[in-house]
């Protein structure tokens, strides 16, 4: 079709908005890579920070982030997948419970991350941890009722729950109904159908969702500010009740609370780069797995 000048104007205006976004993204990535890459070295990745937080490396923060993310995954992902299975495989389309669960999932996805922080503090640390202390110990010094990697991970598990649920549900829905019918008609129980036919065929999609959720959780800082992230901790967490360093929190603390931000600049850019590489490689992995599983379903 021939474009008139007004067509060009609209295409131009909308195109410019895309260009602005891409430009901002390019500047962001460019700056971080440009300033961050020179900082990255084996020492930076493997050493503990010095007492000034600026010198040395960020190994405890990398370790803490990975450890916390792992705990979060173990705690949250099974629950999310179970919810998705319930919604797609068991609940009737008009079930009131399913409707309520869906509304809850939607709203959970919209709860601000700082509110999750308050929740982690109010529920996990004060209520659960505090009750455990009251029951188990006579001493007044808190053992469980204080910020720790356990509570931070559980808080983030709740935060990432909706991501896991929604993406898993999508993945389960791509499994053709005919497979379920065939399996049931061969005398499989509903549960056998789910774990022998539906889950294996949705594996790629579920994995994608899990990875997306994990990458989201790995980068969240606001919820863990009060729940277990530590400013400076030269040792690695070995116990679930230990506090931990976190890449994102390290960036926040260093950028806003450091007495000399200019001196901290290189360390900051390096840390941000590591955090970005971590989350992006997770996202990339998700994209690849999703593309593959789509291709295999098509063939």
């Amino acid at each position: 079709m021939r474009y008139t000048s007004k067509d060009w104007l609209l295409a131009g205006l909308t195109g410019v908005s895309l260009a602005v976004i891409l430009l901002l993204l390019a500047v962001l990535l460019g700056q971080i890579v440009w300033h961050g890459a020179p900082v990255i070295s084996a020492e930076f990745l493997s050493q503990s920070p010095g007492a000034d937080m600026v010198s040395g490396g960020i190994w405890p923060a990398i370790y803490g982030t990975v450890f916390m993310t792992l705990l979060m995954t173990i705690a949250g992902v099974p629950v999310g997948i179970a919810t998705a299975i319930y919604l797609t495989e068991y609940a009737s389309p008009r079930s009131r419970i399913a409707k309520i669960v869906r509304i809850a999932v939607n709203n959970l996805a919209g709860v601000p991350s700082i509110v999750f922080g308050l929740f982690g503090l109010g529920f996990f640390i004060i209520f659960v941890g505090g009750s455990m202390d009251a029951l188990l110990y006579d001493d007044t010094t808190p053992v469980w009722g204080k910020p720790s990697i356990l509570w931070a991970s559980l808080t983030l598990a709740v935060l990432t729950l909706p991501v896991v649920i929604v993406t898993t549900e999508e993945a389960l829905r791509t499994v053709p109904q005919e497979f379920r019918d065939a399996s049931l008609a061969l005398g499989a129980t509903r549960f056998q159908t789910v774990y022998k036919i539906v889950l294996p065929n949705a594996r790629g999609g579920i994995l994608t969702g899990v990875i997306l959720a994990v990458s989201r959780g790995a980068g969240e800082v606001a919820p863990i500010i009060f729940c277990g992230a530590a400013n400076f901790l030269p040792y690695l967490p070995t116990d679930l009740r230990d506090m931990f360093m976190h890449l994102g929190y390290h960036v926040y603390a260093l950028a806003t609370q450091s007495p000399n931000v200019d001196a901290a600049r290189p360390t900051l850019f390096g840390t941000v780069l590591v955090l970005l590489v971590l989350t992006f490689s997770l996202n990339l992995l998700a994209v690849i797995i999703r593309a593959r599983s789509r291709a295999s379903l098509r063939s």
Partner: protein, 346 residues
Amino acid sequence: MTERVLEASERTRAAKTRQRISVRPQSAKSKLAGSFHTPLWHRVAERLIAILALAAVLAIALIFVFIAREAVPMLWEAEFAEEVQIRDLFFAKEWKGYDEPVFIWQPVGEPAKFNVVPLFIGSLKVTLLAMLMSVPLGVGCAMFIALYAPRAVREVVKPVIELLAGIPSVVLGFFALMVLASWAQATFGFHFRLNAFVAAIGLALTIVPVIFTISEDAIQAVPSTLTEAALALGARKYQVALRVVLPAAIPGIAAGVVLGFGRAIGETMIVLMASGNAAIMELFDFSTSVRTVTATIAAELGEVAQGDPHWRVLFLLGVMLFGVTFVLNILGDLFIQRLQKRLTAS
């Protein structure tokens, strides 16, 4: 003749078949009733799945209850009443040393002043500013991708925007703090390096993907019969875009805007790092620094003793924030439902 041969061959083949198919032997036949029991562990697993499915509902309830639990005692606690009057949380008061009633948040002041209004104004201001930037950008991108971009561009841009959505907000906050703030000050000559404008750009970066994705879906979902009908009537492409596609996709775009708004008002790290965090009651000047609800909670809770009046007020902020985003979410859902109804009805 041939018929008879065919018949004969079929008979032999049938005989062969009979030999090779084995059927359920008589001895293996059992009564239907009670002959099969679903293994116990299947039933246990299914019950477990149903129970775990309630986790999301439980989570929402627990979030509300346990945040409120830390805030509500302010209604009866003597310690709280001594320091703060609940009325002063929401209404202006003429404090000592002021010559008119003011809304003021000054937790370390003597007496401590906890008026939540400036914080909500701050949140609203940054959010609205971010919306002003991100709605045109997001919707524009969506229109370009859905209507004008060649397939190849679309295939590249969608994952790139997803990438943007995957950037942790602390990184965006850092970018706004380190890079955008210096650039904006150099370009516009702001008095304060960190201000509402800088924070809003950072925020816009987080909500553009939300608005883009939902709007793009909504635009793609407009039935092609509608656009073809308009084209067949001799409409130009821009006319189709603005008069047919956009109106049909409006509920979807509205949903994107509402959900983006909810995301922006609840965003913490970006505003915490890039807004300057001074609680100034100033609605229109975006070159001044602001303090949002979220940043206040994040910055102050770590330094307050549990059960302190200040602590209670911060949790109250959390409850209010939770309420606001809850309503926004339900609103966004309604818009999406309306979109679906409108498209299926037409």
